[in-house]
Symmetry: C2
Subunit: 323 residues, 2 copies
DNA sequence: ATGAAAGCGCTAACAT
DNA sequence: ATGTTAGCGCTTTCAT
């Protein structure tokens, strides 16, 4: 790897001039040309590492998400990317797999690589953002807002969404509405379950027999659905708190010949790939991409020095019947 | 951000000693302890940037993929991650969106950030890996092997898979078997189409009316399927060359009431989320995760200095009837 | 076992 | 407009 020194020597100028050429500073056309030629000749690429060390900051932002296999998060990632790229930043994705160790490691990297900022959908439980915050590394939380930390957040109203979805089931006349939600240490999971509880209370099914904490993944949804159906008095409807679990739940319902409309189903989040045969399901649409673009915009503001108090932006999620 | 100098001062030792403590070199227990305490006190994190600059290499590897929203690539990513992590490396994902500019940018970053290596599923056309290769940055291609570059590659036999899938359709008695494949500048797309051609030749349908180049995405599959069905003499079966497009194609078939078994369908790649209602489809299983783990292992070997000639590993993809 | 010091490649004063 | 130089934070000889 050639350095600016070698390019400088080849072009007959000083290293500073080479640097200036690559950073758009004032350089006479002839020298600039000479530098560019020499650089091309040697196929010189400026070292980002050295630049980052010198500048104490880079143009890459980290996007930390708990499950890269969930289409919701990949759609969100696309949103982040588009906005970030347009502003000249690159995005690197870090998959934590809902695991705190991995998460911590990535945050550590972001910090010690002096990345420009991080957008994080926190793994379950209390994520430790204190390091980032202490070092004033711009952070914005997305989808899930970490407990007790004062950072920008872009979220949806999980409780209201859960309530609306469940309410739709109530209005459809179902009597025993179950709830399959995510891990109990993930905020969005409990909030959506709270929404469910809001709606079923007074409807006779406050009963926690009908509440299942799963893992936000396909198999977890399937297992929970099986358990519910095995109950002495099985539910006649179910509110599923995320997209992936709904795939599992529907699969089980299908196997047992109890697909909607035989069973009522409402889902928080969009089905990743619509079922081929139209099935009447209630869906709370998640503005995944929009969450991403919004978070990226907030982060960019922070990066450029915006110092106002932390903001929380709540995006609307729309209730739509599907099928 | 405290530096080793400040930690050294606080602990009453030299910077070199601090460095040694953090790198497992020989240091007396007392001093080591003092250093650790001071470091914790100041919540010191060694600068990876400085370390990378000094060492001229880091412990992160870049995984460059063309479509982060495709479950095939995310599964592959999981495979890479698991192997890399176990060896102490972190993986950052770079989404190129099948776009050469983005790809080039990420490769440039990998290089100028002196990453340990890169695993790449190249965007369509000829990816330029020359920079990486010239600088001896370890590279392994996965899923798609870039043209005319001599690098390790982990792939599947696309042509054989396409042939087998189509052959299954032939054996099921279909007469006019169409093919929906990916972009014509993506190797895997043309190879799978070649496999289709192998199988339909002699079956009367070599006719390119039945061949469609789409974009490897859901909508592309849907559009292509619509076009095919609008033909004067529409096909009675279709071989779809990737997972996402099959979702689109099946959707269109469903809308027109022509779902299998009315129409024959064979797919290269696993349906991301199986249809609820069992539908008889032939699937060429893609060992996505395995592609990832294998690529990661090859890369790790190269990183540790393995200098043998480039290898190409062809993984088996298994034909399975589904539904 | 420990310290002093050079240097990884770059940028930004400061000088000219 | 251009060159000189110090220094970003770390690792690693080379001494001791």
């Amino acid at each position: 790897m050639p350095t600016i020194y070698e390019v400088a020597a080849a072009a007959g100028v000083s290293p500073a001039t080479v640097s200036r050429v690559f950073n758009g500073a004032n350089v006479s056309p002839e020298k600039a040309e000479a530098v560019r030629r020499a650089a091309k000749e040697m196929s010189f690429t400026p070292s980002r590492t050295a630049r980052t060390l010198r500048l104490q900051s880079s143009e890459v932002i980290a996007l930390v998400i708990p499950d890269i296999e969930n289409p919701f998060f990949t759609a969100l990632a696309r949103g982040v990317e588009d906005v970030a790229r347009a502003a000249g930043y690159s995005v690197v994705l870090c998959n934590t797999d809902e695991d705190h160790e991995k998460e911590l490691r990535y945050l550590d990297i972001a910090l010690s690589a002096t990345m420009a900022g991080v957008i994080i959908a926190a793994a379950g439980g209390n994520s430790d953002l204190s390091g980032l915050i202490a070092r004033k590394c711009p952070v914005v939380a997305v989808d899930r807002s970490p407990h007790g930390v004062d950072v920008d957040a872009v979220i949806v109203d999980n409780r209201a969404g859960g309530r609306a979805a469940t309410q739709a089931l109530v209005e459809q006349g179902f009597q025993r509405i179950a709830c399959i939600t995510g891990p109990s240490d993930v905020e969005t999971a409990t909030q959506r379950a709270d929404g469910w509880r809001d709606a079923v209370t007074g409807n006779g099914t406050t009963d926690d027999r009908y509440l299942r904490f799963a893992d936000f993944r396909v198999d977890g949804g399937a297992t929970a659905m099986s358990e519910l159906l095995a109950l002495p008095e099985p539910p006649d409807a179910v509110f599923v708190a995320n997209n992936l679990m709904s795939v599992g739940a529907l699969r089980v319902l299908s196997e047992q010949g109890k697909l909607p409309p035989a069973t009522g189903v409402a889902v928080f989040g969009d089905l990743p790939f619509l079922p081929l045969v139209p099935i009447p399901i209630t869906v709370v649409h998640m503005p995944a991409r929009h969450l991403g673009t919004t978070a990226a915009k907030l982060l960019l503001e922070r990066i450029s020095g915006d110092d106002q108090p932390a903001r929380t932006i709540v995006l609307r999620n729309q209730l739509t019947p599907v099928g």
